[in-house]
């Protein structure tokens, strides 16, 4: 069988029978209802977009504060070890109690 001929025939069949352009009843109403519901949903989308936009400045501020905190630590020079700081803070009330005796 001639495949090329069959291909040509089938394509001419497809050309001769174009699909229907019929539209279901009130289809445009369905589209408009969907669009209206999407517009309502957009309030949340807007809120989400605002949050995403706010994320970048927040990260920026966090970095600046972090750098500032590290820099201020360096300016004060080496402080006492954390353990002794903690001990002093925890025992401070006891020290004042001893003084009062």
């Amino acid at each position: 069988m001639n495949i090329v001929e069959l291909q040509k025939k089938l394509l001419s069949v497809a050309r001769a029978n174009s699909p229907s352009d019929g539209v279901p009843y009130a289809f445009e109403k369905r589209i408009m209802a969907r669009i209206a519901s999407e517009q309502l949903m957009d309030v949340w989308a807007l809120w989400g977009r605002l949050l995403w936009r706010a994320a970048a400045p927040c990260v920026g501020i966090m970095l600046v504060m972090g750098v500032w905190a590290v820099a201020s630590l360096d300016l004060n020079g080496p402080s006492q070890p954390l353990a002794s700081d903690l001990e002093e803070t925890v025992l401070a009330p006891l020290a004042s109690l001893e003084d009062s005796w």
Partner: protein, 214 residues
């Protein structure tokens, strides 16, 4: 000052039984401008205007009517969302058809796994039509329902890009340039894909013939 939208004007004109000569239908550009200003009802006029054409286009790529409706709905919703990106330099129809064809292509790609891979479900009428073609090619009818179904089944076996190219180039008889504009592919790519698509369709036909007659 209240702004009278096109959709309200049309409704008013119908209500007053205004003769056709007194008012003209708003152009696509006017309707788009009104939609972008917030008058969603103007978009409904656009939907009414283009939906027959979009349904006919979608029916070329989907067989089930519920799939066709889903495609058409997606096309219009995409158009509404992206309306602001239409620059009004070229006719709206071109922009819109490009969007429609790309959405249909996306549909084909997403349903690639569901496409028929075996040709076992040929009906008696389809087999008869094929037998008639084998016996005497010139007498086989083009408007036979069996032939139409056979074409649909063969197209369903093709890859998404092959099906799109065969539909646009061979069935809708569009030029390579037009297809390039519709699909966003370059002209050489369209030519290469057209060559491959024809070969793919021939292979598919060969498979059917081999299974049936050899």
């Amino acid at each position: 000052m209240p702004i009278l939208s096109w959709s309200r004007f049309l409704a008013f004109a119908c209500l007053m039984d205004m003769p056709d000569c007194l008012w003209m239908e708003p152009s696509d550009t006017e309707l788009i401008a009104a939609t972008l200003k917030g008058d969603a009802a103007s978009f409904e006029v656009l939907v009414k205007r283009y939906q027959p054409r979009i349904f006919a286009t979608a029916r070329r790529y989907a067989r089930r009517e519920d799939e066709v409706e889903d495609i058409v709905q997606e096309i219009f919703i995409k158009a509404f969302r992206k309306l602001a990106s239409y620059r009004m330099e070229a006719p709206f129809e071109h922009w819109f058809m490009r969007l429609a064809v790309r959405t249909c292509y996306d549909f084909l790609r997403s349903h690639q796994r569901n496409r028929e891979t075996a040709f076992t479900d040929m009906t008696v009428n389809e087999t008869d039509w094929l037998d008639q073609f084998v016996a005497e090619p010139s007498t086989s009818r083009e408007n036979a329902a069996a032939a139409r179904e056979l074409v649909k089944k063969i197209l369903n076996q093709l890859s998404p890009s092959a099906r799109l190219i065969i539909t646009l180039l061979e069935i809708e008889e569009r030029s390579v340039k037009e297809i390039a504009a519709l699909t966003g592919w370059s002209v050489p790519l369209v030519k290469v894909r057209a060559f491959r698509a024809r070969a793919e369709m021939r292979k598919c036909l060969e498979r059917i013939i081999r299974a049936k007659y050899l």
